[in-house]
Symmetry: C2
Subunit: 148 residues, 2 copies
DNA sequence: CCCTGTTGTAATTACCTTCATTACATCAAT
DNA sequence: ATTGATGTAATGAAGGTAATTACAACAGGG
């Protein structure tokens, strides 16, 4: 099972806002064109990013803007804004192990901590990367493009 | 989006096999009773664990057995046996970013490496834990049960 | 004040994955 | 041959993803 593409879409959206917000009005239609998914999907993602206070969206006139500096928006911030993980655990657990089996009645307690460790490790890695890193990679790539 | 419960089911199954294989015939019906999911689900998981050479399954007579020592079966081995992500990545990517947008035509290349780093970090953590660790936790818990 | 462009939001649809369930062929030992 | 188990296919329900249509709410310009 994979993590939904809405996460990478959100990163794409944030990168677009950072790059274009000074030059033009970054609307859901514009973002829809760059990401190439339906504008309603974009708008829902914008709502989630706004709820997490990562961006600001102008209601009537249109346009999205970063609400925090790029180096303070970590990939974990975006991940948590987008992924509505039930009970916050990455790993789903089978519901009703048999309490009359010594393994069945203990497996949940045993695995919970270890799987949480795995999840925390992953989230720490996500926290170590910021939108600024993405933007830095991007300018590097764009400069390479110019040379050719 | 969460990782399928088939992963924790597989760990439950392996723990049961390790605990019971010397005492009784560990059949899919028995495992189904301990895990509390349908026997066909168990059988399919057993097939995947067998394909990964983690267990052996007796065809006509029935019964599953560990094919490797518990301290050589890492949680990553189980994860890879169960989750059919072989060629795919943990993070799904939106398909067709607009190549005429400077962000759109570069976002994939930029994010790929960073998301792969995150995935590798998670997998390394999974590799550091083995079935023997789970069994050790289990015996500790069972001894505590006895005291009460 | 109304028109226009945009956001916020609901509803519908199609598709995919997970898991439960039924059914049955295959197999090994007695 | 009978028995008890595995291997495997097919179907259905439930839930999530994403596309799409539709429209109310809103802000600014003419």
């Amino acid at each position: 099972m994979q993590i939904s593409s809405r996460f990478t879409i959100a990163l794409h959206v944030l990168a677009c806002i950072a790059v274009f917000e000074k030059q033009l009005k970054v609307t859901s239609a514009f973002l829809s064109g760059s990401v190439n998914v339906n504008a309603v999907i974009i708008r829902n993602i914008l709502l989630q990013l706004k709820a997490a206070e990562l961006i600001r969206v102008e209601r009537g006139t249109g346009g999205a803007y970063l609400e925090q500096p790029a180096d303070e928006i970590s990939l974990l911030d975006v991940y948590k804004a987008i992924e509505p993980l039930e009970k916050e655990t990455l790993f789903r657990f089978h519901d009703n192990p048999n309490p009359r089996c010594p393994v069945g009645r203990n497996i949940h307690g045993i695995l919970d901590q270890r799987l949480l460790d795995v999840q925390n490790t992953m989230e720490n890695e996500l926290q170590s990367m910021t939108l600024a890193d993405i933007l830095s990679d991007l300018t590097t790539k764009l400069q390479k493009e110019k040379k050719e």
